[in-house]
Symmetry: C2
Subunit: 310 residues, 2 copies
Amino acid sequence: MKNHLSLKVNQKMDSFDLNSYLFSKRKQIDRAIDNIIDQTSNSSVVASAMRHSLMAEGKRIRPILCMSASRAVGGKAEDVIMVSCALEMIHTYSLIHDDLPAMDNDDLRRGKPTCHIAFDEATAILAGDALLTLAFEILSSIELNNINNAFKWLRVINIIAKAAGYKGMIEGQIKDIAAEGNRIGLTDLEEMHALKTGALIEASISTGAILGNGSVEQIEQLDIYAKNIGLAFQVIDDILNVEGDPAVMGKDVGTDQVREKSTYPSILGIEKSKEFAKNLVNNALQALDYFDNKFDPLRAIAHYIIDRKK
Amino acid sequence: MKNHLSLKVNQKMDSFDLNSYLFSKRKQIDRAIDNIIDQTSNSSVVASAMRHSLMAEGKRIRPILCMSASRAVGGKAEDVIMVSCALEMIHTYSLIHDDLPAMDNDDLRRGKPTCHIAFDEATAILAGDALLTLAFEILSSIELNNINNAFKWLRVINIIAKAAGYKGMIEGQIKDIAAEGNRIGLTDLEEMHALKTGALIEASISTGAILGNGSVEQIEQLDIYAKNIGLAFQVIDDILNVEGDPAVMGKDVGTDQVREKSTYPSILGIEKSKEFAKNLVNNALQALDYFDNKFDPLRAIAHYIIDRKK
């Protein structure tokens, strides 16, 4: 069984060109974010700080997942472009606050100075606050002219607020801080990741599926897909921190070991961690087994998550 | 004209007992906030930090204004209790972040240690983030069982997000930080206050009026009322910082002068500042002139704002 699954991950989908898909989606998202920030651009230093962190060449994985999930269930990518931007804003706010001196105290992010280095601490705190608030402003403004969809958007706002909130992302960050310097077990590590990054990835996929009018079965299977790729993403992050190429990644490696962070490689070893990530991706792919080729982008993203070098 | 207006401010409304009104509303709000936090209470330190700052005996002026505006236009106070809690959460988040070492670096708030003193800086940043996010979670969850009101709630979320956002409260805080140590003029001072505190006070009143199904005229007049009492509130704050009683206020006075902050007394002098505050309150009262006695609580609050000792 395990061999079969491992094979499945390595199998190529010839019919789908992921690189040009990701490239075009990123362009679309970058343009939409740029438009929003242009509208918001005033003389304020906070607007500059928001732009600095938002436009720092992110992978845009959350917006791409949202758009892909919507497309997979038959929705139009255009209908979820704004919620995709909102998701990226919430992700970016969390990076800005996590990088602060009182938290991870990081100077570099994606090869650029972090927000509090490029500006100052007060501005970075406020830019994060502003991005979080702007996400909800965007989410609540989309259907202000269309009374029929209001209920669906209220549901979307609720899912995203819960994922970002004190029982989601924020609790994950608390657990991450608490774990620093303390050895934790696999269960705690998994729970921390499920909250810190998993929750918003799941919300990205489920809001895309809801807005694309997916069926209950599609939404349920996508949820399994989301949980598995969310965790796989973190396991690979941990592995790249051990054996990634700093030049390709644009950041230092080996930092987890220096900080004595509990990671998958530190608990399971490198080989078992890779096996674990493969199994997670296989679970994700299996969840989509009965769906048609509109789900190919999501399948390809699952492959990408395990194959990525940065 | 000015004498007539000044008289109006001093005139008592015998029919309305403001103190017991404020007391009972505060009880109602405290109970509702307590319930929300109880539901949220897990072992997390962030939940404790949220509770610490939320339950720090605030005046609850924003929730009371929201409930009073809803009642005034014929709505039920119960219908806006949750949005009232959300407004207080946003207000509290802004206090937690403003108090941080990178911003105002305050150790005491309402006579208690500020959040980052009682806990630590990372927890205070996250508790603020959590309160802001929880506000939107609450706002989006209220009508998840009632499809008919979804559109109205989307509008309410949008108004609150804008007021709290980078063109509202956050821009106000940026202007406040920029003004420290720099003498600014009356126009800049007024703009700073309109953003930093005015925007959320206006949102409290307009969302109350909208949810209470107020008429367009009522909502417009309440907006004038809100702008005027919002600014009056700040002018009186400045005056209390000069001649208030520290024992009554639970905080030091004279701090604005030490910090060389531009305030109404520093620009206009004490007497002209009092005159200005009176005029603002009179404008607020005039905006309600044609409305019935359901607006008495709002009238009494306008009086309270100018008469308060803390």
